[in-house]
Symmetry: C2
Subunit: 132 residues, 2 copies
DNA sequence: AGAATAGTTGAGCAATTGTTCAATTATGAT
DNA sequence: ATCATAATTGAACAATTGCTCAACTATTCT
């Protein structure tokens, strides 16, 4: 049978390609181990929450600054070069996560760091980045 | 001169309140020190970039999984329970930041971790979170 | 050659985020 | 009492992000 002139139906006639992988391609034992020992969902969420706090220039600088000593919101805003409002909003997040503590003196609020692990992690990262 | 009857103009006539703090409220020396020794902008950006990568459940799990050994994209997607596409997109980010390396074998790509600092940071954080 | 598979990529979308603006509370000063 | 100041908060807006979908490349198999 001679080939008709229309044989080639255009490759775009291909059906939608699966975008999931239904079989283990290669390292079945490692895949099994990982499925068993993968981080629990709530562990992952907690880790993400921790790193999220640090993944913002303002919060990072707040934590770094408070690492040097207690500061009132106004002084902190001054150091950051940001508005009182923006500073206060970020402090609230840090407060909610119990990374900072505060005390009032009249109408002034003094904030300080309240999480040794976070402090150390930032210091380590700073050292690593600054060591060229 | 007698006071006019119009003195009280309504409190809501207050003009827009400054949202910046133009003076140092309290600890001038510390503020001066911090202004001098605050993290440089590019240091902050690098730090943020580092923490941003880890502030996502998928990337975190990828890094954790690759910490156990080299994996092809398909196996990795399988372990994560995600689509090939989503997995590949995230791997591209990790590749761009040189956190993972890869090698090809035929049409399969094998990825592995390529940043000891990141690996250690995740391991430390996991340990801290899991230690109740 | 043609079909199937492993992986990559760009566009588009829904969800989230950080800031500003304006209003508000509470304390201190006149 | 009234005003100014320190700080907090909610709404709104712009920018960013992570996924899906579809199209595409490249390699392997028949």
């Amino acid at each position: 049978m001679p080939k008709a002139t229309v044989t080639k139906k255009r490759t775009s006639a291909r059906l939608p390609v699966r975008d999931t992988c239904e079989q283990v391609c290669y390292d079945a034992p490692l895949v099994r181990t990982l499925k068993r020992e993968m981080l629990a969902d709530d562990t992952v969420m907690e880790l993400v929450a921790t790193f999220e706090v640090l993944a913002d220039p303002t919060r990072l600088r707040i934590i770094y600054a408070l690492g040097r000593g207690e500061l009132c919101v106004c002084d902190l805003a001054h150091v950051l070069g940001m508005s009182l409002s923006a500073t206060s909003h970020q402090l609230r997040r840090l407060r909610d996560l119990r990374l900072v503590k505060y005390r009032y003196e009249g109408r002034m609020a003094f904030y300080s760091l309240d999480d040794e692990f976070i402090k150390k992690m930032v210091e380590d990262a700073v050292q690593h980045v600054e060591s060229d």
